[in-house]
């Protein structure tokens, strides 16, 4: 007996104006519906084009729990294919794998081959399929491509479903954060660089997304790490130069007032960011040579505007967070209702001094690694929340801080930085994209329904 499948009303009832039902975080059926609907109807980050510079270059990853391969096709375009052999379902490439496949993917099981656009190229003993019955088989379609792909300034997104909201409509003005991160390169170009941290979390993926715009936890949860860093640093002899690590830790324990004033902005479809007028990334020391390179590329006025934008965390709904001023991207990969793999990626600003990448990598290591003291603070509370929500004493999480009924009719707005408005914004989008393909049952989460919905 399912409680939520094909019941859009039941899904919508999980989200109130100021509360979220615990089933959104702990219920296995809700998780399966997220994979079938939410992650199929939204534009989900796949990877960065710099990971596949040459034809045949590929990177295997997941969209929700769905295995895909991002590959550079022979015509130079970036394709996103289902990572599944049409014969027996074997993944052509292991998850996380990357390399160059040449002109085709070859299955390691029976040597079926596919072009880098996903179409079936050949299989051994082909004459065995020279009968009319094979023509009506699903396998004819080959690996198949996802519903739609968009490459925005080298950031590759896909929508699994062939029909749905367009890329520009979905992201709208929120793309300004990606613009700003790319513009910080004097050449207007980013490259994935420096390796990726992969950090396993035993909690629901949305706890991580919620936390990105939760400005009232750093001074509490991170008192143990950032607060200790400040205290230890204060013991240093007077006149000692403040190390980069302390510059990065210290703003986490800024007072509530700082976070109130830095502001928060929300956009339609669940996107939003903290740090409108100020942020914890605003006061880093200048890096020699960078300003000069930016002025040479853009002129002083524009360089100043680019670097004056110090947005903190931008959530691209459903599951990434981008930090423009520090050039990181965190990808929250859902594994199960209570398991998430967090990938933290870093970018080189092409044409900028190496010291920028060094700073980016230090930030990522101090804050996002499985060895990070800040990460330890966060994961502890996520895991306690995942367990605590199983209590039958109450059913709802609270997201009421600075709620204003007017926000329902103001999809784009800037407000007090300690508002939980972005969490409310995300969950409204969650209901919309969870239920939009449930209405007529065409994409009901039955295996047959999913197949029809995904392939085109």
């Amino acid at each position: 007996m399912t409680r939520y499948a094909d019941r859009p009303d039941a899904i919508a009832a999980l989200v109130r104006d100021t509360e979220i039902h615990k089933d959104c975080y702990i219920d296995d059926e809700v998780f399966r519906l997220e994979m079938a609907h939410l992650f199929a109807n939204t534009w989900v980050y796949v990877g960065h084009a710099s990971q596949v510079p040459q034809p045949g270059d590929y990177h295997a990853t997941t969209v929700g729990d769905h295995p895909v391969i991002m590959v550079r096709h022979q015509d130079g375009s970036v394709r996103v294919l289902h990572n599944r052999c049409a014969h027996k379902g074997v993944m052509l490439v292991n998850d996380g794998g990357s390399g160059n496949t040449g002109r085709h993917f070859r299955c390691p099981y029976h040597a079926w081959t596919y072009r880098t656009d996903g179409t079936l190229l050949a299989m051994p003993l082909r004459e065995g399929y020279a009968h009319p019955h094979f023509e009506s088989c699903e396998a004819q379609r080959g690996m198949g491509a996802v519903g739609a792909v968009e490459v925005y300034r080298d950031f590759v997104f896909c929508r699994l479903n062939p029909h749905g909201i367009g890329f520009g409509d979905f992201f709208g003005e929120s793309l300004s954060t990606i613009d700003n991160m790319v513009d910080r390169s004097p050449e207007g170009r980013l490259e994935v660089a420096g390796g990726v941290f992969r950090y396993l979390h035993r909690c629901n993926w949305k706890m991580l997304v919620d936390n990105q715009t939760d400005t009232c936890h750093p001074m509490v949860a991170h008192q143990s790490s950032a607060g200790t860093a400040v205290r230890v640093w204060e013991q240093a002899p007077a006149g000692t130069t403040k190390p980069m690590a302390v510059e990065q830790f210290a703003p986490f324990v800024s007072p509530y007032e700082f976070f109130e004033k830095m502001g928060i902005r929300v956009w339609p479809h669940g996107h939003g960011h903290t740090g409108v007028s100020d942020s914890i990334h605003a006061a880093y020391s200048a890096i020699p040579g960078y300003w000069e390179a930016m002025v040479a590329a853009y002129g002083a006025d524009r360089a100043s505007r680019i670097l004056g934008e110090v947005r903190h965390n931008t959530v691209y709904f459903p599951n990434i967070m981008v930090k423009g001023p520090i050039q990181t991207l965190r990808l929250f990969k859902p594994l199960a209702a209570d398991r998430t793999l967090v990938e933290s990626w870093t970018f080189r600003l092409v044409g900028a001094p190496d010291a920028l990448l060094e700073r980016t990598l230090m930030y990522n290591r101090l804050i996002n690694a499985p060895t990070s003291v800040v990460g330890h603070d966060d994961l502890e509370v996520y895991e306690r929340s995942q367990q605590g929500l199983r209590s039958r004493a109450a059913d709802w999480l609270n997201i009421a801080r600075l709620y204003d009924p007017a926000e329902h009719v103001q999809p784009t707005a800037v407000t007090n930085g300690t508002s939980e408005v972005q969490m409310r914004n995300q969950m409204r989008a969650w209901v919309h994209f969870m239920t939009m393909s449930m209405k007529d049952g065409a994409c009901a989460p039955s295996p047959a329904g999913q197949t029809r919905g995904m392939a085109a």
């Binding site: 390796g195 200790t228 830790f249 793999l341 690694a369």
Partner: protein, 172 residues
């Protein structure tokens, strides 16, 4: 040169014997296992550091990510945090155990007073009902100072350094 002759010449040059270096490395791990972290921190030279690469065979700690790449200040922050009253991820605390192979002295520069040792390990870190096993090898660059032997760099290579991990909260 026979092992005995090497030992004799080391003594003549007032260098450190293999035994001293080996004992130092064994003691370093024991301090961690016993939770004597302030004493452990004292083993590091003032310019000493701890490096745990993210990639097998990694040579660059600056422009490639590492699991840890910490100077003494960052190590001190870590040690103080572990004991903090509001360090909730250490309530209850983690415990660890190193099972070490006898270290080998890989190279010695007696004139400079710098020694390189290698020590393979199995490392257990445990908290509540969870226990994880990590394996690898530690490479210590030790330096002779007026205060005695000190660590200039401890490099920890995990066999599975590029795997996805949960929390690693203590020192391998």
């Amino acid at each position: 040169m026979s092992a005995d002759a090497g030992h004799a010449s080391a003594v003549l040059l007032a260098g450190r014997t293999d035994r001293e270096l080996i004992d130092f490395v064994l003691c370093e791990a024991r301090l961690l296992d016993e939770g004597r972290l302030e004493a452990w921190l004292d083993l590091y030279a003032e310019d000493g550091g701890y490096w745990m690469p993210l990639a097998p065979g990694q040579t660059d700690a600056r422009l490639h990510a590492s699991l840890m790449h910490e100077d003494k200040l960052l190590l001190k922050i870590r040690v103080e945090r572990l004991r903090g009253p509001r360090t909730f991820s250490q309530q209850p605390p983690s415990r660890c155990h190193h099972l070490l192979q006898v270290p080998t002295v890989e190279s010695r520069d007696e004139e400079a007073g710098v020694y390189l040792t290698r020590c393979a390990f199995h490392y257990i870190e445990t908290r509540r009902d969870e226990q994880q096993l990590l394996a690898g090898w530690a490479t210590h660059t030790l330096v002779d100072t007026p205060a005695g032997l000190r660590i200039r760099l401890k490099r920890v290579d995990l066999v599975n350094c590029d795997a996805a991990f949960g929390n690693l909260q203590l020192f391998v």
